[in-house]
């Protein structure tokens, strides 16, 4: 019985913006969910269970919003589940939903992640309304300085990541930030917000939602037969570690290393750089691209920046990273992880439109949270056995 195959047959997302003042909370999550159902050629009644993920409830001032959103997402009379694992939550939400199918509990599951940051003030809520906080940029800046120092990376690598992701975003119709005249010079001349991170090397604060429909093997094969390519989940894993203790390395967190090793082992991957076709990683600040490429074993230690510098991670490079424009271009926190996971699935389904990587068959997605201590990752592929032959 254990571990049956699980396919992704529907993906939807909202237009991400700094303020989606045209929709209510329910309207916003339904916009993404409806698109995912349409993509799957399903209706609300076809879904057996719903999993919802989002980051702190204090951001919108709705406690346990899965209660209010139960009927908005068609879960009246059904199981409704709520996940919260900080910034990694969107990824964890996808994984929890996939487990409901893989365990045989349900046949068709809808996962939804969202954040409507404009309803409140995230900076204020991070301090729990009790005063000033450093902001996420301030908290992560020393980790990035540590990376630059230990890897010997040229200082232009961060801005190069920003330019690449912002160019990719121009090809993604749902992206929040669309900066037509983006250039290295423009990034480097933007204000230094959390030294060493500049304004244009940082993620925005977004309203938005993402939704994914999961189904069992029969459902995946039926979608394929109908000409709607599914994405198959080859592997998934989560890891957490404490935030602060002597000996912890937050620049290359052990949880990030272990989580990647776990999914490679599950998927039978021994050379990720060669066996994966592209990656969609949680990069809210530019330097996290080379940091995660290393922690996830895609680049050698202290070599992640070389992949950026050589252009390998560009959309037309050998190993494209963050084809969607990434978190740097859209950051509805609770949805951000699921957007990464969904982008990887879109790539192997061949439905990524202008940001499609030609011939992508196996893709990796990752989300992380809190003090770089919560990790969720999966590998999806265009078939259940992509490495055969």
């Amino acid at each position: 019985m254990a571990h049956q195959p699980c396919a992704i047959v529907g993906i939807g997302q909202t237009q991400h913006k700094s303020r989606r003042w045209d929709v209510s909370l329910g309207g916003m999550v339904r916009e993404a969910a409806r698109r995912a159902l349409d993509d799957a050629e399903m209706d609300w009644s076809d879904i057996d269970a719903v999993v919802i993920g989002k980051a702190p409830d204090l951001f919108e001032g709705v406690m346990k919003p899965e209660l209010y959103l139960t009927d908005a997402l068609g879960a009246t009379g059904k199981p409704m589940f709520r996940v919260h694992t900080a910034g990694s939550v969107g990824g964890t939400t996808g994984i929890v939903a996939s487990h409901l199918v893989e365990s045989g509990r349900h046949t068709r599951v809808l996962a939804v992640g969202y954040q409507k940051q404009s309803e409140g003030n995230a900076q204020f809520a991070l301090g729990s309304g009790k005063g000033a906080s450093l902001g996420a940029g301030g908290a992560f800046a020393p980790y990035m300085r540590g990376y630059i120092q230990r890897s010997g990376s040229p200082l232009d690598v961060g801005p190069m990541v920003a330019v690449k992701d912002r160019k990719n975003a121009l090809k993604n119709p749902y992206a929040h930030l669309r900066i037509e005249d983006i250039s290295l010079e423009k990034v480097k001349s933007s204000p230094m917000m959390w030294d060493p991170v500049r304004y244009l090397e940082s993620c925005p604060s977004s309203d938005g939602a993402a939704a994914v429909v999961f189904t069992d093997e029969a459902g995946g094969r039926a979608a394929a037969a109908a000409g709607r390519a599914p994405a198959w989940i080859l592997a998934s894993a989560v890891r957490s570690e404490p935030s602060q203790f002597p000996g912890r390395d937050p620049v290359r967190p052990q949880g990030a290393v272990d989580c990647a090793a776990d999914i490679y082992s599950q998927a039978g991957i021994t050379n990720p750089r060669e066996q994966l076709d592209c990656a969609e990683l949680y990069v809210p600040f530019s330097w996290y691209e080379p940091m995660w490429l290393e922690a996830h074993g895609i680049a050698e230690v202290n070599g992640g920046w070389k992949m950026v510098e050589s252009g390998e991670t560009a959309l037309d490079g050998d190993f494209p990273v963050n084809m969607s424009g990434g978190v740097l271009s859209s950051n509805p926190i609770g949805a951000s992880g699921l957007l990464r996971f969904a982008e990887a699935a879109m790539q192997v389904r061949g439905t990524a439109g202008e940001h499609q990587v030609d011939g992508a068959k196996v893709a990796i997605a990752q989300a992380y949270g809190a003090a770089a201590q919560y990790f969720a990752m999966w590998i999806v592929a265009s078939s259940l056995d992509p490495f055969a032959n």
């Binding site: 199981p79 919260h84 957490s240």
Partner: protein, 358 residues
């Protein structure tokens, strides 16, 4: 009764711990959890290192802090890093996620926790935040008011009387005298209780739960591991959850169909239930939930005293699981169940059915 033959995919509860139930703790939530987890893994005869997956249930709004669960990871022993998750729900749903995770078959042992310090703020000011943010929260609609609205609907329909509600409180407080985890217990007289003023008519103080700080941890394992570690595993034979629509005015408050659905999916009706530990934090909910679960008069309801004796928000449901498991392992019962709920007027419900080894 003839229990279904166990397979290697069966999962059993092999240990648990319930923290002291107090009105106000001097511990942080992480400290409460640290002790509960140490107790639970000790009860299971293992160390934290042998736990393959952990899932916690807690709530930022109860803690009064965004990302409050992040500090609680310190209690888990997540070094080396651990497979771990968190739900902004009662620990019973954390146990559900852990149970589903073990069903996948690649790992053997999981730990679920629930924790909350209800003492941090006035529940009447916190709970409006979980109601419809446009039509209900701005009216300050609190959990007690919703419970009272449901109580009135049940009283008006003849499903329960204020006398029966007082009798339930008397029984719960009397039963709680035998529990180490009760905050409210003792011998009371129903007539005396009924002579007291309403707090929120038709509810009196005895119809309401206490405010409790507490935590609970439960360890589960796949069959082979469970048998290796434990002489008398408590098998989870059914586990399911189901939700009503949110806005109470759009529901028939005399019914609890989501509980019936969850009970059916968990197989409650397949055999008699000897003990039911149910999250009825308000007296009038007991007959409604019992009947929706399909329980008969021969089922003992909340012999621990239930949530009327101690109500550690976010752990109350998981404590029900631990108490129902205790009834099997230590109390010699064959088949028990636990129920947990969240949201206004029993909106969201989960049911876990447990059986002994024979």
């Amino acid at each position: 009764m003839a229990a279904r033959a166990r397979t290697s995919d069966d999962i059993a509860i092999i240990g648990w711990n319930i923290s002291p139930m107090v009105r106000k703790t001097d511990k942080t939530e992480a400290q409460m959890l640290l002790e509960a987890i140490t107790g639970a893994v000790g009860d299971a005869g293992i160390t934290r290192r042998e736990v393959d997956f952990t899932c916690a249930g807690s709530c930022d709004y109860v803690a009064g802090q965004a990302f409050s669960f992040v500090q609680n990871i310190d209690a888990v022993g997540a070094w080396p890093p651990k497979r771990d998750s968190h739900v902004e729900m009662d620990g019973t749903w954390a146990l559900y996620e852990a149970w589903v995770r073990l069903l996948l078959g690649d790992i053997d042992v999981a730990l679920a926790t629930g924790s909350g310090r209800s003492s941090t703020a006035d529940p009447n000011l916190i709970y409006p935040a979980e109601m419809d943010p446009y039509y209900l929260a701005p009216l300050g609609t609190d959990a007690m008011s919703f419970a009272a609205l449901q109580a009135r609907a049940l009283i008006d329909s003849g499903a329960v009387t204020e006398r029966q509600m007082a009798d339930i409180a008397v029984r719960a407080r009397r039963d709680a005298k035998g529990s180490d985890y009760a905050q409210v217990s003792g011998d009371f007289d129903a007539d005396a209780l009924l002579a007291t003023d309403y707090v929120r008519a038709p509810l009196r103080k005895h119809d309401l739960p206490p405010i409790t700080d507490g935590a609970c941890a439960v360890v589960i394992a796949r069959a082979d591991k469970a048998r290796e570690l434990c002489e008398n595993p408590v098998w989870i034979t059914g586990f399911a959850h189901c939700s009503e629509l949110h806005y109470p005015g759009m529901r028939d408050l005399r019914r609890a169909d989501a509980i019936t659905s969850a009970a059916k999916a968990a197989g409650v009706e397949e055999a008699p239930v000897e003990v039911a530990e149910i999250q009825t934090a308000f007296t009038h909910e007991e007959p409604l939930v019992s009947s929706a679960l399909g329980l008969g008069a021969d089922t003992a309801i909340n012999p621990s005293g239930g949530p009327l004796a101690a109500n550690p928000i976010m752990a109350t449901g998981l404590v029900r699981v631990a108490e129902a498991a205790r009834a099997v392992r230590d109390g010699g019962k064959h088949r028990t169940l636990a129920h947990s709920t969240s949201g206004p007027c029993l909106q969201q419900n989960i049911v876990c059915v447990m059986e002994g080894s024979d």
